[in-house]
């Protein structure tokens, strides 16, 4: 990228410009199902203020979002719902697995709980903690922003299986 101060123009590639725009305007789709969602709300509200990172527009509409935030434990019965929401989101898309339960099942090693959503959804950033602090959430958000600015997404490394949901 070059900058010419005399003539007020820059040269860059189209990909770089698009990735720059995408990474600074993430639209999160919150999937808050447990106590981690409380910390997610704190991170999005005024004290921690996710709008500093351009991602304060929470739309509960997967078709208008590109960042899925799974905060909480996911049961066998909830997983198809989450997967439907994930597949409704347009590409390119990113996913944050927030907290121990979403990442690994946490303490709930029982018959009913998914042992980590990454068995079904490609996850870009994991947040450890039970629940994590809002600072950890912001760290994950910045990780996703960094990936987006390079044009990387975990979802693009996977393929959809024939005949699946």
């Amino acid at each position: 990228m070059g900058l010419n101060p005399q003539n007020d123009y820059t040269t860059t590639t189209l990909d770089t410009a698009i990735n720059w725009a995408r990474s600074n305007s993430m639209w999160p789709m919150p999937f808050g199902v447990a106590c981690c969602a409380i910390e997610m709300m704190a991170a999005l509200m005024s004290k921690y203020d996710a709008s500093r990172f351009g991602s304060e527009v929470l739309k509960f509409a997967p078709r208008q979002s590109d960042l899925l935030i799974v905060s909480g434990r996911i049961s066998l019965k909830m997983m198809p719902v989450l997967l439907r929401i994930w597949e409704q989101m347009p590409e390119p898309k990113w996913c944050i697995s927030m907290g121990a339960c979403a990442s690994s099942g946490g303490v709930f090693d029982t018959y009913t709980l998914i042992q980590g959503i990454d068995q079904f959804i490609p996850v870009d950033a994991y947040i450890p903690g039970c629940p994590p602090r809002p600072e950890a959430f912001i760290e994950a958000l910045m990780t996703v922003q960094e990936k987006a600015s390079k044009g990387q997404a975990k979802s693009q490394e996977y393929t959809v299986k024939e005949g699946s949901v």
Partner: protein, 180 residues
């Protein structure tokens, strides 16, 4: 302060018990004090008779239905009448009295009459007891699984069921959309 639960003291419990002994004495297995409530044990086939008396008797008036749940006693320290028991918790809104009716359920699958004809709110709790213990409630209007997925095969709160399940978590191929 005159709290309704404090009003339900030993003498009030004795009154309820005397009334119950007088009218349904042959159907009671055992009665005991259960914390602030009065505990009553019955056989499963007498449950509707006992519940309808508790509800409709003008002196008792247990019209408030608080909860219904179930217990698997197969690994309990003390021997019980049957393996499964369904527990109804009732309240009398006027006197503040509470009773806990424990009905021991026989049969395979364990079968008991549904309380929905007396208390409509019992339907949800009975569906949950069916979902987790496999107890069949005869006369329930919509007895199907409420919390577990519809295609679930087992009854997970039975004592012989392993904590981590019987492979349902791994055997979840239909929802698996991505592969490495």
């Amino acid at each position: 302060m005159d709290h309704p639960l404090i009003r339900f003291d030993a003498s009030a419990k004795a009154k309820v018990l005397a009334r119950l002994q007088e009218q349904r004495g042959s159907e009671l297995l055992h009665t005991y004090e259960e914390g602030l409530a009065l505990g009553i044990d019955v056989h499963g086939q007498n449950i509707l008779s006992v519940l309808s008396f508790l509800k409709d008797d003008p002196e008792l008036g247990f019209t408030g239905f608080l909860d219904v749940t179930a217990v698997d006693y197969s690994k309990y320290v003390l021997p019980q009448v049957e393996r499964f028991a369904v527990i109804y918790i009732l309240m009398s809104p006027h006197s503040g009295a509470r009773v806990k009716v424990r009905a021991f359920v026989a049969g395979d699958p364990p079968t008991i009459d549904s309380a929905t004809s007396l208390y409509q709110g019992a339907g949800w709790g009975e569906r949950e007891a069916f979902d987790f213990f496999g107890i069949k409630f005869v006369g329930h209007p919509n007895l199907k699984r409420i919390l577990m997925p519809d295609d679930y095969r087992d009854f997970p709160l039975r004592k012989e069921y392993p904590l981590r399940g019987r492979g349902e978590r791994a055997d979840f191929e239909v929802y698996r959309a991505f592969k490495d």
